[in-house]
Structures are given as C-alpha cells and as structure tokens.
C-alpha cells in the first residue's frame, strides 16, 4: 500500500458553461471538453462528503465544484492521467475509483491517495464496477470476478456453480448489504461468501433475457432491469415501455433514484428516461445523438441529476424553478387570478390567455373580448365577473358569457383604462386616463375625481389596503389612500418619485407600504417615514414593475434587469434610511422598463407562486424552490502561489501550523473554492488577511485573493462562502501564513516605505474658473430665451396669421361666386385669393424656418423633399428625387437651415426657369461627415464665372427671393461653412453640389433670421 501525494492541476478559472437546453420541467446544462472536462465520455459520477462532484472519464478524474473542473492525478509517477472506469464512496466517506490497468485508488484524505492494488494483483485486472457496503467494505468487479476489500484485505469470491465467463459486468449493494452481480450468465447474488444464481418469484422466472442489473430504491423495493424492461421484483410487476423503437438499439445501462418514488433510467441508444412509478417518459436532453448513450447517472445531495454520456459530456438536470410562457408573442401586460385559481393574462398585441401551472391557452371568452388588443388590466369578482380594460377601447365586463362595454358614451371619463383591482371580492376599482377612479359594485358605479382628493393625474396602480379601501399610485409619482366613505388622502412625500409614475404597490404583512416607480427607485413607508433606494444603494434598476411578498415573508421585486429577493430577515432588521439593499438578481427576465402598459404586472397566486407579466410573456416561479434553504458550503484553499510558484500543500487538518512563505515575497495569490452544484453563480466569497486587511474583502469572481509585497510578519488568511441567499452564515476556513523578514530589511527602510508614498500623495489644488462658468450659464439662458421667443413667433404666425389669411382666401372665393362670371371685380377677387394663397405658402416657409422644433438635419431633409415635390408637382419637368432614408441625428441652427434652403431653392428655380432642361435629378446624401445636395439637369448650361477674389459678402439674411444667383448661392454656403460647386458648360447641362460639413456645425442655435 503506497501513500502518495497527489497533484492538483488547477485550470484557469472558468464560469459555468453556457450551453443550456431548456425543457418544460427541467433546466439542463451541459459541460464538455471545452469547459475543462477531460473527455466528452463520462464513465462514472460520485459526490464526496465535502460536497465536491467527481467525474470519471477515460482520460482521468476531474473534481467539479459546480464552477470549474480540476483534474486530479493520484500520483506524480503517472505521467498521464489514469482512465477511470468506476467510482464509489465507501462507508467512511472515502472516494474510490477503478482503472483498466492500475487497479483501484482510494482518496484517504483531502490530499492523499492510496493505491489499493498491489496485494491481489488487481493491477492486471480491468476494474468494471465498484460498490460500497455498510461496514466499510468495498466490492470490486473485474473481468476476473468479484473481489471484496475490507480494512486493507482483499478476498476473491468464488462462484457456485462456476461461471463460464467470470467477468463481472455490474454490481449493486443494497442497504441490507445484499450484493447483486451481473454476469454474462445471468444475475448472481452473494450468499454465504459465494456467488450464487439469484432466484425470484414465479412472475419473473422464465424471463429468458439475462438480467443486466439490480437496483434497490430508498423504499427497499428491488428493481431488476434488462435490455428493454424494468421489473419491480418486490411487487412482481414488469414494464417494457422501452420496446417502442427497435429493441436492439436499446439497453438499460444504469438506474438512479431521484425524488422518492422517481427513477432515472439511463440507456444506451435512447438516452434518458424518467419513471414516476407508473409511467415512462423519455427526457429530451439535446438534439444531438451524443446524448443517446447514457453511461452514468448520479443524484447529488442538492437534488440535481447528473448524467454522464458517451461522447456527449456531462449534463445537469435541475428542476425548473422558473417557468416561462411566451404566449402569442409580444409583451404580457396584466394578470389576474379567478375564483377557481386559474391565472389569466392579457397581452399587448391582443389575446387573453388563461390556465394553470404556467401553461396558458386562449381563454374561452366571447368574441368581443377575444378580439381586444392593448389590454391594460384584468380583475375578477368573487362571482366570476371579469373586468377587462383596454387602452382606447373602454372597459369590458363579462358575466356568464355576456359582455358589457363602458366607454365615453356610457359616461366614463375616458376610453383608456389604466388599472383595476377588486377589493373584498365584490367591489372593483377602475382608473381611467382622465385621472378619475370608478368603483363598481355590480353595475352601480361611483366615480371619484379631484373633489374627492385625487390629483387629476392618471392612476397607474391600485392595490387593496389591508384594513379597508385601496392604495392608489399616480402617473406623477404620488400615492394616495382611500378613506371611506369618499376621501383620498395623500400619503407620499411631496417630492417623492420625482414625478415618475407609480408602477408597483404592496402593503406587506407587517403593514409596511412598498412603492415601485418607473425610474425613481423603490420606496418603503414604515410608520410615517419613507425610505428610498435607487441604483446607488443596491437596487438593480430604478424601474420597479412588480412587488410581491412570498408566503415566507420575503419581498420579491421585478425590475427591468430581472427578479430579485429581499430577505424577510433583512426587512425586519433594517431601519436605517440609507442602508444598502442586499439584492441579487435571482434570474434575469425582460420585465418591461418604464413606459410599460398594464396593471397589475405581478401577482401572488393562491398556491404561493409569484407571477410576472413581462416583455416576453408570463413568468412564474415558486419562491421556495428558487431559494432553497441550504447551508453555505465550506471553502477550501486550493493553492497558495508565492511569486507565481505553488507552495507545498498543507495537510488540511493541521491549519494550526503556519505555511512559511519565501522571504522577500513580492506577490502572493491564494486560490480557493467551495462546492455549490445547483447555483454556483450565487455563491459569493469574502476573505481577509489578518495583519493586512482591516476588514473582510469581497473576493473577485475568479475565486482568488492577491496581495503584493507583504511586510514580514505573521498573517492569518480567512475565507468564507455565502449561502445561496447571500448571507455569511457558513464556517470560516483559516490558513496561517508567515512571511520571514529578509536579511537586508532594516527599520529605516520601513520608515521610508511608509512615509514616501504619503509625501508623494500631496494634492495639487485645482482652481475653477467661476467667471467662465457664469458666462456660459448666461449664454445658455439667453439661447433658451431666444428659442422660446422663436417658438412663440412661429406659433402666432401659424395660428393667427395663418387662419386669418385662410379666411381671406375663402371669403374671396365666396364673394367671387356671388359675382357674375366675368367682371373686373371678379378678376380682382381671384387675384386677391391667389395672392393670399401665395402668402400662405410663403408664410409656411417662414414658420418652418423660425420654428426651433425644426432645428435638425432630419427636418431639413424632410422639408427639402416636400418642397421639391410641391414645387415640381405642377410643372411638366420630369424629375428624380432621392433622399437618404435616415440621416444622423444632427442639430442645425435656423441660420444653417435657412441658408441651405435658400440656396437649394435658387438652384431649383434656376433649373426650372433658365435651363430648358427635360430632366432634373435631385439627390441628397450624407457621406464622410457631410450633407450633400446634388442638383443636376440636362439643360442648356452656361459658362461658370469664377468665384470672386475677395471674400463674398454674405447676403442679407432676408427673405428676398431669387436674384442672388450663383454668387448668392456660394456666399450662402460660405456663411454656414459649406461649399457650393457649380459645374456647367454651354449645351452640357448643369450640376450644382451643395456640401455642408456636419462636424463643424455648432450645436447651439444661432439667432433667428431677422424678419
């Protein structure tokens, strides 16, 4: 027996693999060679008492902590890893594994492997299977027969009658210490130290197929499995559900028990099956054929099923805690539970679905309801009356298949229904877009508005209060409480929620009021005081769309980033106003950000599940399954690296002895981990190097702690892991470290090392130029005043001048009609009418130019396009217009817009009036940071005069049209930092290119052109 050290190869830390296959009930994740598994074939899986998972492969053994794989080699003289054929954990908790050529190995302690091969010459016998007995014995199946190991002694068992082929193919040790062995000659049982043929009752005698295996479940029921069947030996029942597709391709290979009464069956050829005591179901693991060969099954202590496959890697099946239902597509907007416990969901793009347990089907409702889209809210009365609100299409009430609709026409203040809720089973509150609330009892309606204390802002949230009445939240962030008989009292602070809509409301079982907002974070009122959390103190996102309290008393929040949980213990214990929320995202969900339609978007159903209406459908989960109460795993220090060199490992138990590090240490790294197989991503670590770190440090995600040059001295490294809830309740792991002082270290150098950095850290005071800031502020204010003035002018011209000119136009037309067909007065009236129309046209341009809303490139492009179409519409000149479909967002001052427009107008006018062209092409593009307008015709052309030598005088920014000609066009573009290029030759047409560099344009608006 050789005691050997073992080599622990630590691969680069890697996050859990991202290959996820989701089936309805299980969340499946798989790992392969790419994730650090040594081989894609897995022969065996075991778990040791410390929580680690051990995975055997043909290329060696790996240890898995849920997060990364670590290759484990029993001793240094095996240059290559040993193939693993079988594993077991004996009664003392030691891990064993068997190999094809090197016998069996036993993990005697955390760091020591024992080779148990020598005495029986097992080295020459390929090990096929291992089994552990109750008294610490280990049964070893080889191709030569069965061997029993007990306290270091091996004993080979003889077969009676002798077997033609002694090879043991499988073995199973039952709780009552019965040992069942599969051989090619059938099933054998260990009786009185001999392998004897197994005997069963009459139901199964006569089975011709050789049994491959026996399995005893937790209830003590014996199961026998063969190539295509499963026999319950205790009850004598036979199942052969496997025979569906070609029996030759299928063989039951391994069985393991999951939850009580549940068997997992691994087959070769057809993958994994689930048997719940009466029914077999194939589990769809992955589309690939690689998962059809199941070689190993293991149910860990955390309740996960691990599946080892032939060439398909390692899989974990975790019971699905979160169920999604994507529905007909599009966001779900609201939820309600009817009196029978059925959950109903409304969808934005239409559709009303109902169902239980996460599977929703189109609800059987009359056609008018089924056809609704933009459903905003749902509520049920005790008598099964359904209330359904829509955006813009009123409120619907359905009872016994009859639908009534309430709209403006029925006296409702608005056709947009925003929220509803039912109180006490019979009173339904409904809010409308005009800011009113309505309470229905049956068909009788009482409406509430400003007179009753409402603010007049639309009410976006309604929730029953614990005692009487309701809580309501408005689109402006106010929360009010209804106090019977007819008053609303404001409970929110005046500046609360910064005017953001209230999107979630909850009064918890302790009477605290929780308020979620569309972007201003989370509030909680205890007594009269409000507490407030945002992104800066722990809230995952400032938009909260759902708040529910679980049966256990935890608070569940849905934000735009996902679903989080606030532990009950924290809520009860915390009272400080600014204590950071200990929130983690439990699972991501595309819950709608603010601006989302619908109420309520969260719901706790009677069975305790929490439901959410999200962007991608309906989500529900059982809070208790998502948050299993499980102690924090114990942390193991895996390696200590001093200046990059691994230090000899310490015996785990002897943490009292300090690890002596090299003197003059420059760099220290400690690597640690803890097994967490279900939610490894939720396990967090923190560490402290006593003597250096003043306090606990949050460990980085790679599970390492690093230190630079440590002064000589004694240290104690402490590390601990959180449980899945994030609390630090677990035991600490400690490691004592000593850094000896280097010979050259004298006290005065230490003094220098301490003092110098402090001296160097002297700060240079920075002076702020307050005068400059003030000047900038004044300029901004002047600009804003200017814009307001421009807006006012535009509006006045639009409303006043426009409507009066229109009136003149129509009055002329009317007077004209009253006159004789031809008369001088009639001609004058025609002339007045047409002049007023022209004037309207000009006014249109001016309003466009003045209005600051048009100060962007997009508006300019749209306007030029519209102008072109209108201008050329009634001419005979055919033209091509090409605009960019979209343009970059770019502010353009009125001056730039106006100059460019006038130059464009000039170019277009010239082409129409002077070119005698038969075709005109206008193309606008944005390229290389420029906006370019290209206007070309096929007309007579002309000799282009050279640009003036002296800088052109900018034309008056007036509204005179025409006449400025080519010079004017160049000057206008020059004024705004652009270029005007004109190419023309007599008889060859004309091409004008107006180029405006966008980068040079000031974003600040220039003064409006003088009128």
């Amino acid at each position: 027996m050789a005691g050997v050290g073992y080599v622990l190869a630590i691969g680069a830390g890697r996050a859990p693999a991202a290959h996820r296959v989701d089936t309805a009930e299980f969340e499946i994740q798989f790992w392969s060679v790419e994730d650090g598994l040594l081989d894609n074939s897995v022969t065996s899986i075991e778990q040791t008492g410390d929580g680690f998972l051990w995975v055997g492969t043909p290329r060696g053994l790996v240890r898995f902590d849920g997060w990364s794989f670590v290759s484990v080699t029993p001793r240094a003289d095996h240059a290559t890893n040993l193939a693993v054929t079988a594993q077991c954990v004996d009664a003392k908790g030691h891990l064993w594994f068997g190999t094809p050529k090197h016998g069996v190995f036993r993990l005697a302690s955390e760091t020591e492997w024992q080779s148990e091969a020598t005495p029986m010459g097992l080295r020459d016998e390929p090990i096929s299977c291992l089994g552990a007995g109750e008294q610490g014995e280990v049964w070893i199946g080889t191709d030569q027969g069965l061997v029993r190991w007990q306290e270091g002694r091996f004993e080979r068992l003889l077969a009676d009658p002798a077997l033609a082929d002694p090879a043991v193919l499988g073995l199973h040790v039952t709780r009552s210490n019965g040992v069942w062995v599969s051989t090619r000659s059938g099933l054998r049982q260990v009786v009185d130290g001999m392998l004897r043929p197994a005997r069963f009752g009459p139901e199964v005698s006569g089975q011709s197929s050789p049994f491959l295996g026996i399995f005893e479940d937790r209830h003590g029921l014996l199961w026998a499995f063969g190539d295509s069947y499963l026999l319950n030996l205790s009850a004598g029942r036979r199942f052969n559900y496997f025979r569906g597709g070609g029996a030759t391709t299928l063989q039951v290979w391994t069985i393991c028990e999951g939850r009580p009464g549940e068997l997992w069956i691994g087959t070769t050829g057809q993958g994994l099956f689930h048997f719940d005591g009466g029914r077999f179901r194939a589990v769809d693991l992955w589309e690939s054929r690689d998962h059809s060969e199941v070689r190993a099954l293991f149910s860990d202590r955390e309740g996960n099923l691990w599946v080892g496959t032939q060439r398909g890697g390692l899989l974990r099946l975790r019971e699905r805690t979160v169920r999604w239902f994507s529905g007909p597509g599009g966001p779900a907007t609201c939820l309600a539970e009817d009196p029978t416990g059925t959950i109903w969901a409304g969808f934005q793009h239409g559709g009303l679905l109902a169902g239980r347990g996460g599977v929703l089907d189109p609800a059987t409702v009359p056609a008018p309801l089924a056809a609704q889209n933009l459903i905003t809210t749902l509520a049920f009365n005790r008598d099964r009356t359904l209330w359904l609100g829509t955006l813009g299409n009123g409120l619907h009430r359905m009872l016994d298949g009859r639908v009534m609709r309430f709209t403006l026409a029925q006296g409702l203040g608005d056709d947009s229904i925003l929220a509803s809720c039912t109180v006490g089973g019979g009173r339904t509150w409904v809010s409308t877009g005009d800011g009113c609330l309505h309470r229905f009892v049956g068909l009788a309606r009482v409406s509430f508005g400003r007179e009753e204390g409402l603010t007049g802002d639309p009410i976006t949230a309604i929730r029953p209060a614990a005692t009487a009445g309701v809580w309501v939240g408005t689109s402006k962030g106010e929360v009010l409480r209804f106090e019977p008989p007819n008053r609303f009292r404001r409970v929110s602070d005046p500046a609360m929620a910064s005017g953001k809509a209230i999107t979630a409301l909850l009064e918890d079982s302790a009477g605290r009021l929780w308020v979620g907002t569309a972007g201003a974070g989370l509030y909680c009122q205890t007594g009269e005081a409000w507490r407030h959390w945002t992104l800066t103190n722990g809230l995952p996102d400032n938009a909260v769309i759902g708040l529910e309290e679980s049966v256990r008393g935890d608070l569940w929040l849905a934000t735009a980033r996902g679903v989080s949980r606030l532990p009950r213990t924290w809520i009860g214990g915390s009272s400080s106003s600014h204590e950071r929320l200990p929130l983690l995202i439990e699972f991501p969900a595309a819950t709608a950000p603010s601006g989302a339609l619908g109420w309520p978007r969260s719901l706790r159903s009677r069975d305790g599940r929490i439901w959410l209406a999200t962007e991608s459908g309906v989500v529900n989960f059982a809070p208790s399954a998502l948050q299993p109460l499980r102690p924090a795993p114990r942390v193991r220090v895996e390696a200590v690296l001093a200046d990059g060199r691994a230090q000899p490992r310490l015996a785990a138990a002897s943490s009292a002895a300090a690890l002596r590090l090299p003197s003059g240490l420059r760099d220290l790294e400690l690597q640690f981990t803890a097994p967490s197989l279900t939610f490894p991503e939720r396990t967090r670590f923190r560490h402290q190097l006593e003597g250096f770190d003043p306090d606990w440090q949050d460990s980085p995600g790679n599970r390492r702690a690093r230190y630079g040059r440590l002064p000589a001295g004694e240290y104690r490294f402490r590390v601990t892991a959180s449980d899945a809830e994030g609390s630090w309740t677990g035991a600490e792991t400690e490691l004592a470290l000593v850094v000896p002082p280097p010979w050259w270290l004298s006290p005065w150098i230490v003094v220098l090392e301490v003092i110098l950095p402090i001296a160097l850290a002297a700060t240079a005071a920075r002076k702020l130029s307050h005068r400059r800031l003030r000047r900038q502020l004044a300029r901004v204010q002047a600009q804003q005043a200017m814009e307001r003035e421009r807006s006012r002018i535009a509006r006045d011209m639009h409303d006043e001048l426009g409507s009066k000119l229109t009136r003149i136009n129509f009055l002329c037309e009317r007077a004209r009609n009253e006159l004789a067909e031809v008369s001088p007065a009639a001609n004058k009236l025609d002339s007045i009418a047409s002049t007023s129309r022209d004037l309207l046209h000009s006014l249109d341009e001016i309003v466009w130019a003045v209005d600051p809303r048009n100060d962007s490139l997009e508006h300019l492009v749209a306007y030029l396009g519209q102008y072109t179409a209108e201008y050329l519409q009634n001419t005979a000149l055919p033209y091509d217009l090409k605009m960019p479909g979209t343009v970059p967002e770019q502010a353009l001052s009125a001056e730039v817009r106006h100059n460019l427009f006038l130059a464009f107008e000039e170019a277009l006018g010239n082409a129409l009036k002077h070119s005698k062209a038969t075709h005109l092409a206008i193309k606008m593009t944005t390229a290389d940071g420029c906006f370019i307008i290209h206007i070309s015709d096929n007309g007579c052309g002309f000799v282009v005069p050279p640009p003036l030598a002296e800088p052109p005088r900018p034309p008056a920014a007036g509204w005179r049209r025409g006449g400025t000609g080519l010079r004017g066009m160049r000057a206008r573009l020059g004024t705004i930092g652009g270029r005007c290029e004109i190419q023309s030759q007599p008889g060859r047409g004309t091409a004008i290119t107006l180029t405006l560099p966008l980068a040079t344009i000031e974003a600040s608006p220039a003064p409006a052109p003088a009128l």
């Binding site: 955006l391 813009g392 809509a501 999107t503 129509f810």
Partner: protein, 211 residues
C-alpha cells in the same frame, strides 16, 4: 351609379366651414351631411352618423384639438376615413393626427378641385403618404418602445415601401421597383397606416408612465 360620399366637416371658423361645405355640395358625388364647430360636439354626434369621410380641422380654439378628437373618434368609427384640414404643412402635427387614426390631410390653401379629388381618393381606399410623413413613420417605428412583434410590426415588404417613400420615390416608381401595381403599393401604404395606429396607441401608453 356611384354611391354618394357622405362627408362631415369639423371646423371652427364659420367662413371656412360654409365655404368648404359649399364646395362639397357642388360636387354630384359628395354630400356634406353635417358640420360641427367644435371637436367635442363632433365627438358626441359623429359616432351616430358614421359618415364615410370626416374633414377635421387640426386646430380648435376651445376644447379638444383635432388630434385628440381623432384619437377618440377613430375607435368609435373604424370604417370612416378622417382627413385633417390644416393651414400649413406642419409635419409634426400632421403626423400626430395620422398616427392617431387619420388617413390623410388637406391643405386649406388647396384649390377646391384638389380637395374634392382627395376626398374621392381616400374614400376609394387610397392612402396618400408624402415623403416627409413617411420619414416620420420610419422614425416612429425605429424609436425604442416596449412592443416587440405582434400586429404593430411592419413586414419586410411594407418596410421596403415605406423606405422608398421616405427617400422621395413616387408610388408609380415604387410599384415598378417592386414589380407590383400602383394599387398594391397603395394597399401597402394603407396597411402601414393601420399598423401606425396600433403602434401609436401602444406608444401613447408612455405618457401615463412618463420617465
């Protein structure tokens, strides 16, 4: 014989109102069945009348404005076409009216003959969309919004038509480019308008949850 197009006019200026009503009745195939001076009045009465086409001023000095009126009226009158009347080509305001459910717009300075033509076109299933409006529609569908998928989403073909319109292509050219008739292009535009309405109702939600 073609059925007579029943038109209702909502306009607060009495002069303009009488004149337009006069034009309308001068045409053989169009009848102005009612006129209203305020949007509120129109909203109360029009659902009962259900005219074929409603001409709606965009600006009212009192009460609801034209856009708000369209927003409320359209769900009650799904089969009526609403044309906006405006003095200026105020793209932003026109677009909002179109998004709220209008099917087109008329400039008050249009010659009377064009006005009648526009009414006949929209009643016949036409869907006029100018380049500048198309650009606004493109932006609207690009803007980040909660909805994804469903009936408010443009199909690839509709997107193609919309982009061509936004680039300034006339219907005829778009038809040639896609190898379909101008009639088909018009149908696409109709559908774009319908989706815009749904889309806009969705977006209108945001105002209740101002961020």
């Amino acid at each position: 014989m073609k059925p007579i197009i029943q038109v209702s006019l909502v306009e607060d200026d009495p002069g303009v109102r009488e004149n337009i009503a006069g034009y309308l009745n001068s045409a053989a195939d169009i009848r102005c069945v009612s006129t209203y001076a305020t949007a509120d009045e129109a909203l109360a009465q029009l659902p009962k009348e259900a005219p074929d086409v409603v001409l709606m001023d965009i600006n009212f000095e009192e009460g609801l404005n034209g856009i708000q009126c369209v927003q409320r009226l359209k769900p009650l009158l799904p089969n009526s076409q609403i044309l906006m009347l405006t003095v200026f080509e105020d793209t932003d305001r026109i677009f909002r009216a179109l998004a709220a459910g209008a099917s087109g717009y008329l400039l008050k300075r249009m010659p009377p003959a064009q006005l009648l033509e526009a009414i006949r076109e929209v009643h016949g299933g036409g869907a006029p969309m100018s380049a500048s409006i198309a650009r606004k529609v493109v932006q609207s569908f690009q803007s980040p919004r909660p909805a994804a998928g469903g009936d408010a989403e443009l199909s690839a073909r509709e997107r193609e038509v919309l982009l061509a319109l936004a680039e300034g292509c006339p219907y005829k050219q778009i038809g040639d480019r896609l190898g379909v008739s101008i009639h088909t292009v018009r149908n696409y535009v109709r559908r774009i308008y319908e989706k815009l309405h749904v889309h806009t109702r969705t977006e209108a939600v945001a105002k209740f949850y101002r961020q």
